[in-house]
Symmetry: C2
Subunit: 416 residues, 2 copies
């Protein structure tokens, strides 16, 4: 049933109407109550950027583990440089050289210096580094041109990270630099939240598979490639084996696929060809069917064999909108990400009024032009190209008749 | 040479100092002048989310290609419903049924109706759809309870997309819904900007490969896993075969790897072990070496055999910063993405003053606490954990001594 139909009077062509539509808030509350974090899995460090930590990570090491030079220069005993100045050059005998990664046995005594590079370990006996620009060099000795205090230009063990420090906490979505830090403390793999496996079930005898040319009275499936992209964006693994026949057996088999989440696109309303809602109700729990929103009012969700099932309308804009409101949120939450939308927002004035109807939430596609919001004139939920022309969307809540021109509203931007 | 050293007086341990440091603006200008878009490659539609279009895409088809019903109901001649009302039910003979995807030959004559589902093609002869809720059904006939005007509830060919329309323009980074639209117009693959291949060259005899435990006077390489994550974030393909020996032959071979961009981490300054700058200068063009910024002042960039080479300091924070200022920008640009940072920004007040030095740009790591910016107290560029404790960073331009507490400044947020 098209979602802009008036209150239905059910007859032959319809199994039943939406006698009641849940509010978006009710639907979200049902959803959140049925969404649990997935288990942990080991992930190699090199693959862990963007993954979510299941447990705190505590360092087993000081980083660095040793005292190192922070300058190119000479490792010395600071006391030997006392009083050194360009007019009072103090000589030190060069007794060795130390490079990063290669310790030396040489013990630095009073009156001695070891040539040292940045990052190299401080030789025993030395307590400071005299920088290269504070010396003159004469064959096997240096002449100190200035003094250094004890500890100067030495990086101490644990200066970056101390052993026992909680480096990153459970729930953290790993940034590139986090993975660098984990590498530095000797982590080879992390316990990460498993990525939700999301089976896409697209039904409709009018559909041709993606990659086909439109032909006759058939249209090419737009929803499954779109949904696959959305699922990957939200940290899921999309499983998209192709169009499913419009019959209850085929659909039930797909609903029982090995996955954490099932997205059904098409056949999700209350028409005679809409099998999925009845199947979910019969074999599981149809928690929500019909939501007071536009587009996407025929959206639904339930649980079958422990999997979350989302009934997404076949109209592509409705499909996108219902995904974004419900399925995407669940997929992000299952995988340990923040439930909120991944869209950036801006507060901008409306160029003209944006009307809605009290009692339903509206998802209005808009353009942003010269830092103002221009609502798109759109005839219906079948116009997917509206979401490519749009820069984003504005929500008009259930209790609002819309906004006057000039009102500052929040726009959610598709480009994130 | 450590980047916080004073103006160098060059002697034995140093080959030469940074007699001159380029401003960040000069370095960016050099970089942009040496960054060209990569060529096109074919990409299957299913893999195209996030890819950048090389050419405009014009639809070869109307979408839909046929007239379709927007409601469940009956396809009729609108004139037959004139005057119909609940108290004036007008009978129409049911002569067939049409489902989505299956055209029928039946020609609808005056006085006839064809049962039709949403999305099914309108049978010839019919010019409107009488919705299910506007009829009573009696065996082989329907009784119209209301009238419909010609064209009512019919979606016309091209209503979503008209043949010849430019659906998406060159330069577009494809969103999930864009890929849906492309599927609907029969696109099976797109001409996308090739992804930059980025060879990561990490040098340093003090380094152990990622996955090792820190040991003795060695540290574990933090930069290559961090850089790989950054490269992938920016749309590149990271090539990270492992640590390269600190010798000129090995480094030159790596600089000539099959890649579009070379990132050298470590050995990029002016010390005696810093081979990469000399190699780039000798075999190519060392465009910039030394930048008036902190951290990352020893950063450099050049061109060798047509590849962009970035000299990133080995200190991990400097490495991150130099990547973000220069390498990341080039990688995004080569692949056709926007050059700007992928970080979200906010304007927030500083909790306390943030000081800098005139003549260099400062990259200050900060936390965001209760919608205020708290600068992190950090001792140096070797403290990578500062970038995991930080929520983002604030820039202090060359001509500024810093900001007073309470000033509203832009914070760039690491979590995007």
């Amino acid at each position: 049933m098209p979602e802009n139909a008036p209150t239905p009077a059910i007859r032959d062509v319809r199994m039943r109407g939406f006698s009641h539509r849940a509010t978006v808030a009710t639907a979200l509350a049902w959803l959140d109550a049925h969404t649990e974090l997935l288990a942990s899995e080991p992930v190699a460090l090199a693959d862990s950027v963007g993954r979510v930590l299941v447990i705190d990570i505590v360092s087993d090491f000081d980083v660095p583990t040793f005292s190192r030079s922070m300058m190119d220069g000479f490792a010395v005993q600071a006391a030997d440089t006392l009083g050194a100045a360009p007019y009072n050059r103090l000589p030190l005998r060069i007794v060795g050289e130390v490079f990063p990664g290669a310790a030396i046995d040489t013990q630095v005594q009073s009156g001695e210096a070891v040539k040292i590079m940045t990052g190299a370990p401080i030789p025993s006996g030395a307590d400071a580094v005299l920088p290269a620009e504070k010396v003159d060099i004469e064959e096997d000795r240096v002449l100190a041109l200035g003094d250094v205090s004890p500890g100067k230009h030495i990086g101490l063990p644990g200066e970056d990270i101390k052993v026992g420090t909680t480096v990153l906490s459970a729930g953290r979505r790993l940034r590139p630099q986090d993975v660098g830090v984990l590498s530095s403390i000797g982590v080879a793999e992390v316990a990460a939240r498993r990525k939700p496996r999301v089976r896409i079930v697209v039904t409709g005898n009018e559909l041709l598979p993606p990659g086909s040319k439109p032909e006759g009275c058939k249209i090419v499936d737009a929803n499954s490639p779109m949904l696959a992209g959305l699922v990957e964006r939200d940290g899921g693994i999309a499983i998209n084996p192709g169009i499913v026949s419009d019959n209850p057996d085929a659909i039930l088999e797909a609903l029982r696929d090995d996955a954490d989440v099932i997205l059904v696109s098409g056949g999700s309303s209350v028409g005679q060809e809409d099998h999925a809602p009845a199947l979910v109700a019969q074999h599981g729990e149809l928690g929500i069917h019909g939501v007071a929103m536009r587009p996407s009012s025929p959206a639904g969700m339930g649980v079958l064999d422990g999997r979350l099932v989302f009934l997404l309308p076949g109209n592509p804009v409705s499909c996108l909108c219902a995904y974004d409101f419900f399925a995407g949120r669940a997929i992000r939450s299952l995988g340990g990400r923040r439930a909120d939308w991944p869209y950036q927002t801006q507060q901008l004035p409306l160029r003209r009024k944006l009307v809605s109807t009290v009692g339903r939430l509206d998802y209005a596609r808009v353009q942003v032009i010269d830092n103002e919001i221009e609502p798109l004139a759109i005839s219906g939920a079948s116009i997917l190209s509206s979401t490519t022309r749009a820069d984003g969307f504005v929500l008009i809540p259930e209790d609002s008749e819309g906004y006057a021109g000039g009102t500052n509203v929040t726009v959610y931007l598709y480009d994130s």
